[in-house]
């Protein structure tokens, strides 16, 4: 009987199987940020367990609120810094070098096909785009990960999502994943892996695949995964070129981490995207999704472009094609947050930052910022935000605010009209 990609990764990392249903896995990477890690650090210190299992396998960043906004967030940063120094954690990213974890760590080459990754952050599923098993966990799991390098998971079950057809212009990976969540609901994939395959996935860039996997958790999934291929190897080439004689050799090697043709799935979902319109959420759950045209005309107060879902250079480029030569509609606030310093630099060099500034946007440093309503663009009660982020929960970007999730194309189109707009209705 064949195996899925995730079953292969689990088998290769199995430390213990205490019951038929539970597998304890060895971890290749434990990622940490300043919101969920400080309590883990403090607890380990209190219990006399202030150790890390392997300094080279810990990757840490201050990203959610940076620079610090008050004494409490400053303290969270300080606990991280002191800890990184104490344990000589080399891959620690602080102001100037920091960015949104799920954009920054892939960019540094920290995630490879076949890896096991955990982080105290639900969108860790993003890293499955590399053919890795990457799962968000709570602080206790993170503590054990930091201290022992292991984590416990249920035996994986996989839903295969076969994506076919051809995307229309200005329809993106964000629209695909919103449509899928709309179809299977916010717990349609609970305790499951979402395996994205098919010609559309093959043709997506790593950025697109990361967007797809990023929102797997919004359907309840443990992880989203894509099969590692030439696109993956090319992205990682600066980090792996010493390990392989050629790119072809890397691509060949990565085939180890493909699901077998006779693998057993929980179920298969076929999605044809040829007719797919840009998507938009309309209430407080990410599965409350409509074609954006059905919401057209809804006024917004703020447009937010950024986050681990859509703050990559490809996303800023998409938005800039619409913003080019245009201004924010009167009364609309625009905020853009390049997700990492590298993305910021590329956007500067490509003239994209100039385009955003000319359009009247506020350009922030790389940070999670407004995405989780802690800083940098919190909504007032009754305000509406068109956002490229991943959660429209009640209160997510500020108590009493309404968030409409959409792609960077759609957010830019909405920014220039001031009302929710199908980006295909903007000419150029």
């Amino acid at each position: 009987m064949g195996k899925t990609l995730t079953e292969k990764i689990f088998a290769a990392h199995l430390r213990d199987q205490p019951t038929e249903d539970n597998m304890i896995l060895d971890l290749d990477v434990v990622m940490c940020h300043e919101i969920t890690t400080p309590i883990a650090i403090m607890d380990l210190m209190e219990k006399g367990m202030d150790k890390v299992f392997d300094t080279t396998k810990i990757k840490a960043v201050i990203d959610h609120v940076t620079p610090a906004k008050d004494s409490k967030t400053a303290m969270q940063g300080k606990i991280m810094r002191d800890w990184a120094r104490r344990h000589d954690i080399k891959d620690f990213f602080d102001i100037g070098d920091n960015g949104v974890c799920h954009a920054l760590f892939p960019e540094k080459g920290f995630v490879r096909p076949g890896y096991t990754v955990i982080m105290g952050d639900s969108h860790t599923c993003t890293h499955g785009a590399f053919g890795a098993f990457a799962a968000g966990v709570g602080t206790t799991d993170l503590e054990v990960g930091i201290y022992k390098g292991v984590c416990s998971f249920r035996v994986p079950k996989t839903i295969r999502v076969n994506i076919t057809g051809a995307l229309q212009p200005r329809v993106t990976a964000k629209d695909i994943i919103l449509a899928i969540i709309g179809k299977i609901s916010v717990n349609g994939a609970t305790d499951k892996i979402l395996e994205f395959v098919g010609p559309v996935v093959d043709s997506l860039s790593m950025a697109g695949r990361m967007t797809l996997c990023n929102m797997a958790v919004e359907a309840g999934a443990t992880c989203g995964v894509c099969m590692p291929d030439r696109t993956t190897a090319l992205y990682l080439w600066p980090f792996i070129s010493a390990d392989y004689p050629s790119l072809d050799a890397a691509v060949e090697d990565y085939r180890r981490w493909h699901s077998d043709p006779d693998a057993v799935y929980d179920r298969t979902l076929d999605v044809d995207v040829s007719e797919l319109a840009p998507q938009c959420t309309f209430a407080y759950k990410p599965d409350q999704v409509k074609n954006i045209g059905e919401l057209a005309g809804t006024p917004v107060d703020q447009v937010y472009i950024g986050s681990c879902t859509n703050g990559r250079i490809e996303d800023l480029r998409d938005a800039a094609t619409i913003l080019q030569g245009r201004r924010l509609a009167p009364g609309v606030r625009g905020i853009v947050t390049p997700a990492t310093p590298l993305i910021y630099r590329m956007a500067l060099e490509e003239g994209i930052i100039a385009t955003f500034l000319a359009a009247g946007f506020c350009v922030l440093n790389p940070t999670c910022g407004a995405c989780l309503g802690m800083s940098c663009g919190v909504l007032a009660p009754g305000e509406v935000c068109a956002s490229t982020t991943n959660r429209n929960f009640n209160g997510r970007m500020g108590k009493g605010g309404m968030v409409h999730l959409m792609s960077p194309f759609s957010a830019a189109a909405t920014a220039v009209t001031g009302v929710i707009t199908d980006p295909r209705d903007i000419n150029n």
Binding site: T36, K47, M49, T124, T139, N187, G220, K399
Partner: protein, 178 residues
């Protein structure tokens, strides 16, 4: 082993997420006890803020709710805020994975029942109290309303989750096992 059960509150909604259980603005706290006053602060039930009397919340030990409880952000704060309010059992039709794992990791109980059983609990009149028998995997709900019969439900716990609860959580378990 610690005792599980006590007076219950009922949250009649599915998909209650961790932002509603504890909003992100409290994630800057670095002690669990600081979370205590903010339990379910942003929760809407039937579109209205959920605001039970403080005395009711103070004696609550059990929460009964519907499907996909604890979805969204991985923040363990959403479990701690129950823990510091002395709530030690959550009964639901289903849980989001990370939240359920966080509960067992902290040594508190996530009990899954099927929809018919949950409906029966929601149909009970009066103030409901829940007793958990971990030897027999049996939940008994009683009410102070005269004429309301007790409702009994068997549940199944994953054997490993049971071990975690017995060990007092994942850190203690992992420290001795690995």
């Amino acid at each position: 082993m610690k005792q599980f059960g006590g007076p219950a509150i009922l949250l009649d909604r599915s998909d209650i997420n961790t932002d509603e259980i504890i909003p992100a603005k409290y994630l800057t706290e670095i002690t669990k006890t600081a979370l205590k006053p903010h339990l379910l602060e942003d929760l809407l039930l039937d579109g209205k803020p959920f605001a039970p009397p403080a005395e009711t919340l103070a004696k609550t030990r059990v929460v009964i709710t519907r499907a996909n409880f604890g979805c969204g952000s991985s923040r363990e704060h959403a479990v701690w805020v129950f823990e510091v309010n002395d709530i030690n059992v959550i009964v639901a039709e289903s849980f989001a994975r990370i939240f359920r794992q966080n509960m067992f990791n902290c040594g508190i109980l996530a009990v899954e029942l099927d929809k018919a059983q949950i409906d029966a609990l929601f149909a009970m009149k009066g103030n409901v109290s829940v007793a958990i028998d971990l030897q027999r995997d049996l939940l008994t709900a009683t009410s102070d309303s005269p004429g309301q019969a007790a409702v009994q439900c068997s549940f199944a716990l994953n054997p490993f989750d049971k071990k975690l609860v017995a060990a007092g959580g994942w850190l203690t378990y992992a420290d001795s096992a690995y």
